[in-house]
């Protein structure tokens, strides 16, 4: 049997299979651990949490392919200050030790996946909700779905149950009839919100989380503008998990010689 490939080689093949020439964003790519480690098994996850890393180590899944960063640096703006604040932090220290002692290497696959597969995360979420995305002629982050007419409040409850989420939040009139929904996942910025609401026939947007002086304020203003419109925030994690499962399936089919398992994570927050 041939020697197992190093993580760098596996990742090079993975990126080639994605077929994108896009560049990784800051805080993506190899984030922790030794990229020269030989890899026989891999794990795919949304956030590389302590629980995920423990399980990956126990199952000797050396390469952890994650949508998010192990040390909480999601993007440049919010990461500013985080790295310094975590230098002596007990959580970050324990996580670093866990990665070292577990013989793990963490690779963050986020914007490359999104650029190679526009709308993949949103399509996965829509399908998890049993909705069929309308065909679109262009590469967009959101998908639009026609659904049996319901109220915004009933839709919130149904999404929460279906996704196994716990903290779905709504903005707008609960009794608003909804039949055409733009589906987004994760954290959404103003251009994303503006694009998803451009079609006036869209009467609700589903997203994960948004900044309350940026995207969330924009969507609130859409609600306030007099348009019959509502917003549901189903959570950053809950909206991204279906797409992570799709990513894991793609990894298995693209790297057939590698044993890849999906390690799921629950939504972290609860109402008291």
């Amino acid at each position: 049997m041939a020697d197992p490939e190093k993580a760098t080689v596996v990742v090079r093949r993975l990126v080639a299979a994605l077929g994108t020439t896009a560049k990784e964003a800051p805080y993506e790519g190899f984030c922790a651990g030794d990229p020269e480690l030989p890899v026989q098994r891999a794990a795919c996850c949304f956030s590389p949490t302590v629980e995920v890393l423990r399980r990956a180590a126990a199952e000797k899944r050396t390469l952890v392919i994650a949508r998010e960063h192990p040390f909480y640096t999601h993007g440049t703006f919010y990461a500013s200050g985080t790295e310094a604040a975590l230098k002596e932090d007990p959580v970050a220290r324990a996580k670093r030790e866990l990665i070292a002692s577990g013989g793990l290497v963490v690779y963050r696959l986020s914007s490359l996946w999104d650029q190679a597969r526009p709308g993949a995360q949103a399509t996965a979420l829509a399908r998890a909700l049993d909705w069929r995305p309308e065909p679109t002629g262009e590469a967009r982050r959101e998908v639009v779905c026609r659904i049996p007419t319901t109220s915004l409040g009933a839709l919130a409850a149904s999404i929460e149950r279906r996704l196994g989420a716990h903290t779905v939040r709504g903005v707008g009139d609960r009794s608003l009839p909804v039949s055409r929904v733009a589906v987004l996942t994760g954290y959404v910025d103003v251009p994303t919100c503006a694009a998803a609401t451009r079609d006036p026939r869209v009467d609700a947007v589903i997203a994960g989380d948004a900044c309350e002086w940026e995207g969330a304020e924009y969507l609130k203003d859409v609600v306030d503008s007099g348009r019959k419109f509502g917003v549901l925030y189903a959570g950053f994690v809950a909206t991204e998990l279906p797409g992570t499962a799709v990513m894991a399936r793609w990894l298995r089919s693209s790297l057939p010689e590698l044993d890849v398992s999906l390690i799921s994570v629950a939504e972290p927050a609860r109402l008291p």
């Binding site: 975590l86 959580v91 324990a94 996580k95 903290t167 309350e212 304020e217 203003d221």
Partner: protein
């Protein structure tokens, strides 16, 4: 330009003189402008030890970025019929201000969806156009009051929040640590729900974790970690799910006793922009009505339980 400045400066001096002389409304016919109101804000701040800075210092003392406390929309020379103080100039707040003929809005947060209210990218956006046209039609003037209001001591935003919560500071130099009778994370979160009148209070951590020292923090993980130094848990306005919730999830997995109670940005900060800010402005702007405008809790939670 210089004519305008001269006129404004002259009017401000006249206004201040009238105030100093009698504390009475202006003579009929003299029109108070938005620019004059803001000059008085600056003067009042200076009297309280907060000097106006185009680049306010960061907490460590280094010069920060250019202040966001500037006019965002409307003509500073426009006559003021009334002043509204608010946490954020959302479309709904603009409507309420216009209905009450309060045409100068003093807002803590941005109007056009980014920290600098940079509108280059949204010029063709239908919501931007609608909001702007509404403001122009009602001759609204919007001025942001963020950096310098936070510099008043004690910070009026956090003072109003903790007054509302009924939390006491330790008084032992620990800064933002609040001493609570021994309780749990979940019970503290329920208390926050009741006292701030909101259902959208989220916790990450062990609900049964004992709590006696709470910290309060703004919106970044780094500020939250600093606040946590001497506390069992932190109350945070608008925590980001992608970093802060994940951090506290990991802390719980590691059995570290750290918890977070997350509330929306407006539930954290609105209290200090309502009566405290309106009362303060009214004390030196007696000529026109000065009223707080509530933003209301934006969010509701799904009814599945």
């Amino acid at each position: 330009m210089s004519t305008r400045l001269n006129r404004r400066t002259l009017s401000a001096a006249l206004g201040a003189g009238l105030l100093a002389a009698a504390g009475a409304p202006r003579a009929t016919g003299a029109m108070l402008t938005a620019g004059e109101v803001i000059e008085r804000v600056k003067k009042k701040l200076a009297e309280g030890g907060v000097t106006w800075q185009e680049r306010p210092a960061r907490p460590g003392g280094a010069p920060g970025p250019v202040t966001v406390d500037t006019f965002k929309l409307g003509d500073p020379d426009a006559p003021v019929t009334g002043v509204a103080t608010c946490w954020q100039a959302t479309f709904e707040v603009l409507r309420r201000a216009a209905a009450r003929k309060l045409n100068l809005l003093i807002t803590h947060e941005p109007t056009f969806w980014n920290h600098l209210d940079d509108t280059k990218a949204v010029q063709e956006d239908p919501i931007y156009r609608a909001k702007r046209e509404f403001a122009e039609r009602h001759r609204l003037v919007i001025w942001r009051f963020h950096d310098h209001w936070h510099q008043v001591r004690p910070d009026p935003i956090f003072a109003a929040l903790t007054r509302r919560l009924g939390w006491q500071t330790s008084g032992s130099g620990l800064g933002t640590v609040y001493l609570l009778p021994q309780t749990t994370l979940a019970a503290t979160a329920r208390q926050v729900q009741d006292r701030l009148g909101t259902r959208t209070v989220r916790i990450v951590g062990n609900p049964q974790q004992p709590i006696s020292r709470m910290a309060v923090s703004a919106h970044t993980l780094s500020s939250c970690l600093t606040a946590l130094t001497n506390a069992d848990a932190v109350l945070m306005g608008e925590p980001r799910e992608f970093d802060t919730f994940e951090y506290f999830r990991d802390a719980r997995s590691l059995d570290l006793r750290r918890g977070i109670i997350g509330i929306s940005h407006d539930r954290l900060e609105e209290w200090g922009m309502r009566e405290p800010c309106a009362d303060w402005v009214r004390s030196f702007v007696p000529e026109v009505p000065v009223e707080p405008i509530r933003v209301e809790d934006w969010f509701w939670v799904a009814e599945t339980r």
